[in-house]
């Protein structure tokens, strides 16, 4: 029952929408452009 409730909690948690204003982190690559993009 402990395992079931833990899974249930996780499942619930995943359905929780991100808080308002949440900005996903930028993808790790490609990186920033230092001069200009051809």
């Amino acid at each position: 029952s402990v395992a079931k409730s833990a899974v249930a909690q996780v499942a619930q948690h995943d359905k929780v929408p991100h808080p308002v204003g949440f900005v996903p982190p930028p993808p790790p690559c490609p990186g920033k452009v230092r001069h200009f993009k051809i």
Partner: protein
């Protein structure tokens, strides 16, 4: 519970930037032609752990050509990246490095460069001059005229052509051919060269004195030639940098210098 694997490196992480800096320095240090390149963007990085303090790193880099010729002693940090309207040239490089005890070593690199498309330049700057091929007859004639003009006026050493770095031709509103080329001092003064130019040889590597010239030739409506040559002063080159970088340019006028 086994430790979670480290988060993948991001392309803007300091460690990625440190690896990229080693890679760009390696590329410029082993290039024999053209110009120095600067980092524009780290496109991708992959790390393959090999054991304790030992990783193999694959880097994909976007570079941009600078205005410094590869023989220039100017540090890369002081080299200006060629602007978009100057007809920029981009380099794409794949580099394999090994990081051992915090130190990076380049194991292999593969690069290719390409100029920005003429359409892009014309769209933004209709009258900007565009890159011309280095064996274009107008380009060769301008390099010949510029080097002969410099050698006929200088009181210093007679200069020989090493390589043409780049050339651009503008067609409107006037017809202008602009060239950049690398030169080397010979063992002759300009006066001695007039007597016997064949005797003028490049100085031995322990005395080499390289330089760089820019010139522009307005051909229409009136002919006007401007030349500026600067010698870098004596440099000790790494042995694997060949003096003459690409098949020589032959001059049109008979009896002129050939490289």
């Amino acid at each position: 519970v086994p430790a979670a694997p480290p988060a993948p490196l991001g392309c803007d992480d300091s460690e990625s930037e440190a690896a990229a800096e080693v890679g760009v320095s390696y590329i410029n240090g082993h290039s024999h032609h053209g110009y120095k390149f600067a980092l524009n963007r780290i496109k991708n990085i992959r790390v393959l752990p090999q054991g304790l303090n030992n990783d193999i790193i694959f880097l994909e880099l976007d570079l941009l050509e600078t205005t410094c010729h590869i023989l220039s002693p100017t540090p890369l940090a002081n080299c200006t990246v060629r602007s978009f309207t100057d007809h920029a040239v981009e380099g794409d490089c794949d580099i394999k490095l090994q990081k051992v005890d915090g130190q990076f070593f380049v194991l292999a690199s593969k690069c290719h460069s390409h100029a920005d498309s003429s359409e892009d330049i014309i769209q933004l700057c209709p009258d900007c001059p565009l890159l011309a091929t280095l064996n274009n007859t107008e380009v060769l004639a301008t390099v010949t005229a510029a080097l002969n003009d410099h050698n006929s006026k200088t009181a210093d050493a007679y200069l020989r052509l090493l390589e043409i770095g780049r050339a651009r031709i503008q067609y409107h509103p006037v017809h202008v051919v602009s060239v950049e080329f690398a030169v080397a001092a010979t063992n002759c003064s300009a006066a001695e060269a007039k007597a016997d130019v064949e005797a003028c040889q490049l100085l031995p590597s322990d005395q080499s004195n390289f330089g760089f010239c820019t010139a522009s030739m307005v051909t229409k409506p009136l002919q006007d030639l401007k030349v500026d040559c600067q010698l870098y002063g004596h440099q000790v080159l790494t042995p694997d940098v060949p003096f003459l970088s690409r098949p020589g340019v032959t001059y049109s006028q008979p009896g002129q210098d050939t490289a």
